[in-house]
């Protein structure tokens, strides 16, 4: 009965309660059937599994079963099927049933393995099995043997006594797989939490002391593994495991084998992305060749070398296996060795017979067996061109290059491949060579510049260096032959070493033919001929304006009717520089237009182009002139303006020094801006608003050569500001500083017209006066006559009167004046202020100093001679100048003299204020002539001797009792010198 129950368990290990009634009925029926069968086949099957042993591999969570089948006849083979049952925790809990079919031989030990998802330490497992003959005729194995007894697998028993265990230890899984983890606790009262990288996990209790955690799709975290740990809440020590998560091992890609020398195969592959495992856990690669059965463990992750069998095996069938703990990946490769030849790069590349246009290249290839032909590819690079040749080679290769350029470096390269079964080209092998030089093929392009200096022609020859293609080698020198066309006998030879590109020749006014040839080490170029005419022939040609663009100047000219061998366009790259950097461009005779472009062209610079035609006689003659800007720029400078003719109504502006040629664009005219306070613009101007919002009048001058302008209609005495700025098609000059001007008033010019002549006249008069000063002096300021030199003296002498002499000063006996009564008066106060001397003035020597009688009486009294005192000059006696010199002659007669004296005396009297002072005048002369005091000498000679005198006498009215007395008049004569008045 036990048997049937077990069968029942097998058939339906987990009966459902819902169908229990039906099951019972069904079971009863089945039981009766089984009982019947057992009765029919009373004997059990003879090939029941025996000696079942279970081996445990905890690391791999594997159970290995080993058993045998007895009763098999010797050499008998029997196809059998073994049904294996695995239960967990208890035998009734069957978790796995598998039928294992195999052919069983006599005495064979059978093996079967099962991997548990749950770590074996987490629960007990039970295993049993039974067998049947695997007969195709009876597919339903109705005749099973008896079950073997349950084999119990209990790993927990051997764990030890730790309170907590976590399984599986150090498990290696692939990324994305599912892992089951459990812990086994020996202290049930402890509450245990488990964490994966710090995050608590939720588990299911499998047994009271075992909890299971199912991790789905585990992720790769780090190479060193993922920590999973558990710990109890009662101070238990932590326990954990490290789960090594590997990335999925990839199948090797691009697996390929080839040989270079037919002795070693080199197999390569792409291992794919790294599995992210520690080195000791990462995959290994194995190469297996099925024909030879050889196997090799590859040392490297992406390549492996394989020794080719010496017995010349042709076909190879390789299996490359990548394997780690989890997975095994294989790729296969079947090939013929000769089809996988990757030749080594050719060597010994040499060039022989290198001429100007030809060269022969030879090379060697590595031997890959005598019966292999290689196809070699030769490429030649030179002067930007590539040529390719294919050559069939067995041992040595050879290739002739022709049509090469002289003196040119070429780069040749060669590579080879198996000609019969192309697999891969070898690496290139490079080598350079240079062809030989040849004579220059073209004449140098020559041009000239002719200047006349002091009757000589200074001819500067220019030539352009030959291009590499034309030079055919290194140009060493240029030869110049100058032939005089007028005197054919004389010619001159010059050799200019390269790399000169010009020379200067001093020639006379004759015509010369100049040949220029370029020479390299091999030969001479054709000659370039140019004729320098004695007649410069620079006819006047009108200049035409051209508009340049960024690409250059497009120039065209009229075709010449005569025979022209070509045209030359000449210009300067740097027209403003001291060396204009002459450039030229030669074009053919049929060309009448060209585009001149140069990197040197700059915006705002005027370029002048001259177009020459070259006659059949090689004589260049000027055809046209063009001028233009590659790009016009607005004028950058304003002219320096000079203002003139300033009147109250106008002024003139001029800027003669302004050069319109050196401007950054073609000047079309000028704008004159005038700012005024009135702000009104007259006709001929328009209102303009400047950038600073100032309003002014703008005059426009359309002619760039008109460099003067008259600003009119101005207001007198007004303030104006003006600015002259040029304008061109691209704009006008800067609005810089205005010049200030104020108009004068209207009348000043008239006044100037009057005053200037007047000043001139006065100056003229003054000059005349100066020139005629002598005459003027004589007329206006005659000299005071010198008594010694006077004509009177000579008159006297002529009369020969010995008694008459000229009186000396020392001979004068001064008179004394005694002031008897002094009264206050205006004169006194004046005297006091002028001098501190007492009023009583001692004017002349007293009696003691009197040295004897003299012929002349002289006295002076400042007090009473106001005129003398004020003028402080004796010579400035008003009487004297008024007396004409002719009067002196009148004095010679005593009557005239007396009369004159009396007149003077009376004049003096009239000047004296009456009754002021009482003076006692004592004349020295009179005292000497006692008794004859008042008597007038009948013939007094002395006064006649004094040619100059001064009337200083003041006689009080009281004393002048004899007013008619002539002696008093006579005593007032003085001959004092001017300086002595102040004593």
């Amino acid at each position: 009965m036990r048997f049937e129950w077990e069968v029942l368990q097998n058939e339906n290990p987990e009966p459902m309660a819902l169908f229990s009634v039906f099951q019972t009925t069904f079971l009863l029926a089945l039981l009766s059937l089984r009982t019947y069968q057992s009765e029919v086949l009373s004997e059990p099957l003879p090939w029941a599994p025996e000696s079942l042993k279970v081996f445990i591999n905890s690391t791999h969570q594997c159970l290995h079963l080993q058993w045998s089948v007895h009763n098999l006849a010797h050499h008998q083979e029997l196809k059998m099927v073994f049904q294996i049952e695995i239960s967990r925790i208890k035998t009734s809990n069957v978790i796995w049933v598998e039928n294992y079919s195999t052919t069983v031989k006599w005495n064979q030990v059978l093996h079967w393995s099962w991997e548990s998802k749950l770590p074996l330490e987490c629960a007990k497992h039970f295993i049993r099995m039974r067998s049947a003959e695997d007969d195709a005729k009876t597919p339903e194995q109705s005749f099973w043997s008896n079950w073997s007894s349950w084999e119990e697998v209990d790993v927990q028993n051997s764990l030890g006594h730790d309170p907590l265990f976590v399984f599986p230890k150090d498990k290696l899984v692939e990324e994305g797989s599912n892992v089951t983890i459990c812990y086994v606790s020996r202290s049930p009262q402890s509450n245990i939490s488990c964490y994966l990288e710090g995050v608590q996990m939720q588990g299911e209790q499998l047994e009271p002391n075992v909890t299971v955690f199912n991790l789905n799709h585990v992720a790769f975290i780090r190479e060193t593994g993922t920590n999973i740990y558990c710990k109890g809440d009662q101070g238990d020590s932590i326990k954990g495991i490290v789960l090594f998560v590997s990335k999925v091992l990839e199948e090797p890609k691009e697996f390929s084998c080839e040989t270079q020398d037919l002795t070693t195969l080199n197999c390569t592959w792409d291992p794919g992305s790294d599995t992210g495992l520690l080195k000791q856990l990462s995959q290994s690669y194995t190469l297996f060749e099925s024909f030879s059965g050889k196997k090799t463990l590859c040392k490297h992750k992406s390549w492996c070398s394989w020794e080719v069998a010496p017995e010349s095996q042709e076909m190879y069938n390789f299996t490359l296996t990548a394997e780690n703990y989890l997975r095994k990946r294989s790729v296969h490769l079947l090939f013929n060795l000769t089809h996988r030849v990757h030749p080594m790069a050719p060597f010994s590349v040499l060039f022989t017979d290198v001429s100007t246009t030809n060269a022969t290249m030879t090379w060697k290839v590595h031997s890959t067996g005598n019966y292999y032909t290689l196809l070699c590819q030769v490429k030649l690079y030179g002067e930007g061109e590539v040529t390719q040749h294919n050559v069939s080679v067995e041992v040595d290769g050879e290739q002739l290059f022709s049509g090469l350029e002289p003196d040119t470096e070429y780069r040749a390269q060669v590579r080879c491949a198996n000609a019969n079964h192309f697999w891969k080209w070898s690496e290139w092998t490079h080598q350079n060579f240079t062809t030989a030089e040849a004579a220059p093929s073209e004449a140098p392009d020559v041009w000239r510049n002719v200047k006349s200096v002091q009757g000589h022609s200074v001819v500067t020859l220019f030539w352009k260096p030959l291009s590499k293609l034309q030079a055919n080698g290194k140009i060493l020198f240029y030869n110049i032959v100058i032939e005089n066309l007028d005197r054919s006998s004389s010619s001159k030879f010059l050799s200019i070493p390269a790399p000169a590109n010009g020379t200067e020749l001093n020639l006379d006014q004759c015509s010369y033919q100049i040949h220029v040839t370029a020479h390299n080490s091999v030969g001479t170029s054709p000659a370039s001929v140019i004729i320098v005419s004695g007649d410069p022939g620079n006819k006047e040609v009108e200049e035409e304006r051209v508009k340049g663009t960024e690409d250059g100047f497009s120039l065209s000219w009229k075709p010449q009717p005569g025979n022209v061998t070509g045209y030359i366009v000449e210009w300067c790259d740097r027209p403003r520089g001291p060396l204009c950097d002459l450039q030229w461009k030669s074009v053919g005779p049929t060309t009448t237009s060209t585009v001149v472009s140069s990197d040197a062209f700059r915006p705002g610079v005027q370029y002048n182009f001259r177009i020459y035609g070259i006659s059949t006689e090689r004589v260049p003659y000027l055809l046209e002139k063009k001028t233009g800007y590659s790009q016009e720029l607005a004028p950058s400078d304003n002219p320096q303006v000079v203002m003139s003719n300033l009147t109250s109504r106008s002024f003139t502006l001029s800027w003669k020094d302004y050069s319109i040629e050196s401007q950054p664009s073609f000047i079309q005219g000028y704008h004159v801006y005038l700012k005024s306070k009135a702000g009104q613009c007259h006709s001929g101007s328009e209102k303009a608003v400047l950038s600073d919002d100032a309003v002014c009048c703008k005059y426009k001058i359309d002619n760039p050569k008109q460099k003067t302008f008259v600003v009119e209609n101005l207001q007198p005495e007004s303030f104006y500001e003006f600015l002259v700025t040029p304008y061109s098609s691209v704009g006008e000059g800067p609005h810089g500083a205005f010049t200030k001007v104020t108009t004068p008033d209207e009348y000043s010019p008239i006044l100037i017209r009057v005053i200037l002549p007047m000043v001139f006249c006065i100056l003229l008069i003054m000059i005349i006066c100066y020139l005629k000063s002598q005459w003027m002096k004589e007329k206006c300021y005659p000299d005071i006559p010198d008594p010694y030199k006077s004509s009177v003296l000579s008159l006297i002498k002529s009369k020969e009167n010995p008694r008459l002499t000229i009186m000396n000063i020392k001979d004068c006996v001064p008179d004394s004046i005694e002031v008897l009564n002094k009264q206050e008066g205006t004169r006194k106060s004046l005297t006091e202020t002028e001098s501190s001397k007492p009023t009583y003035l001692y004017l002349l020597p007293t009696e003691e100093s009197y040295s004897g009688p003299g012929p002349c009486i002289c006295f002076e009294n400042f007090t009473y001679n106001q005129a003398a005192s004020d003028s402080a000059s004796c010579g400035h006696v008003p009487v004297a100048p008024k007396a004409p010199p002719s009067q002196l002659a009148l004095l010679t007669s005593p009557e005239n003299l007396l009369k004159a004296l009396e007149e003077n005396y009376m004049n003096s009297l009239g000047e004296i204020p009456a009754g002021e002072t009482s003076l006692n005048y004592v004349s020295q002369l009179a005292s000497a002539m006692t008794g004859d005091k008042f008597s007038l000498p009948t013939n007094p000679p002395e006064p006649a001797l004094c040619s100059e005198y001064k009337m200083q006498m003041a006689i009080p009215l009281g004393l002048a009792s004899p007013p008619s007395s002539g002696s008093s008049s006579l005593s007032s004569f003085t001959l004092l010198d001017e300086g002595e008045h102040y004593h």
């Binding site: 976590v166 230890k169 150090d170 964490y195 990288e197 710090g198 780090r222 190479e223 060193t224 593994g225 993922t226 920590n227 740990y229 101070g235 238990d236 020590s237 932590i238 326990k239 954990g240 495991i241 490290v242 090594f244 520690l278 080195k279 000791q280």
Partner: protein, 203 residues
């Protein structure tokens, strides 16, 4: 920087017990051992932190501590003050000698473990190697002190035996943690031991 410095310090310490004419006075070896222990003390926490940093969670979690983790093959350094004070010089030196002997072997084991588990962390491996060298230096120095004091030097023992080789990766990480932690604790205790000796035998 610290590694060559340690080498320089260790050189005389390693040589001293080998020299036949060792000084009778224990002050000098005590002083040398004390200096070395102080120097080691400065680096123990760095070693522990570096070690934990490379082990992943929970070891690398901030503030990780698992005092319950112990190794039977490694004597714990924790001792009550009374017990420690009651020990005589010979016992203290003997305990320390035994502990550092075990530590040198364990540090070697941990170094080997980490070479497997963390092959890409040369800094950790270098620090473990330096710690082992210093522990050996201190051992030699303590032997010199014991010789100077006339104490018997305990024989070298294989404290590890055959036990540790089957450990799982997690167990090895735990083991390394205990060793680096105990290395710090024993260094602290050695500083105290040697300070006491230094006070007894002033130079």
């Amino acid at each position: 920087m610290s590694y060559p410095l340690a080498q320089l310090c260790l050189l005389p310490l390693l040589l001293s017990p080998l020299s036949p004419g060792a000084p009778i006075s224990p002050a000098e070896p005590i002083s040398q051992a004390y200096s070395l222990a102080l120097y080691m003390q400065k680096n123990t926490s760095t070693l522990l932190q570096t070690y934990l940093q490379y082990q992943g969670s929970p070891f690398s979690d901030p503030g990780f501590s698992a005092p319950e983790l112990q190794l039977s093959s490694l004597p714990p350094a924790v001792v009550s003050f009374k017990t420690w004070h009651a020990l005589d010089d010979g016992e203290r030196l003997s305990h320390a000698q035994g502990a550092f002997l075990a530590l040198t072997q364990h540090l070697q084991l941990v170094g080997d473990d980490q070479r497997d588990l963390n092959p890409g962390s040369p800094m950790l491996l270098a620090q473990l190697g330096a710690a082992r060298l210093r522990a050996q230096g201190l051992l030699g120095n303590m032997a010199a002190i014991m010789t100077a004091l006339g104490l018997p030097i305990p024989p070298e023992e294989d404290t590890l035996g055959v036990v540790p080789f089957g450990a799982s990766a997690f167990e090895r990480k735990c083991r390394g943690y205990v060793v680096t932690r105990e290395y710090g604790h024993w260094t602290d205790r050695a500083v105290r031991d040697l300070a006491l000796l230094k006070a007894k035998y002033p130079g």
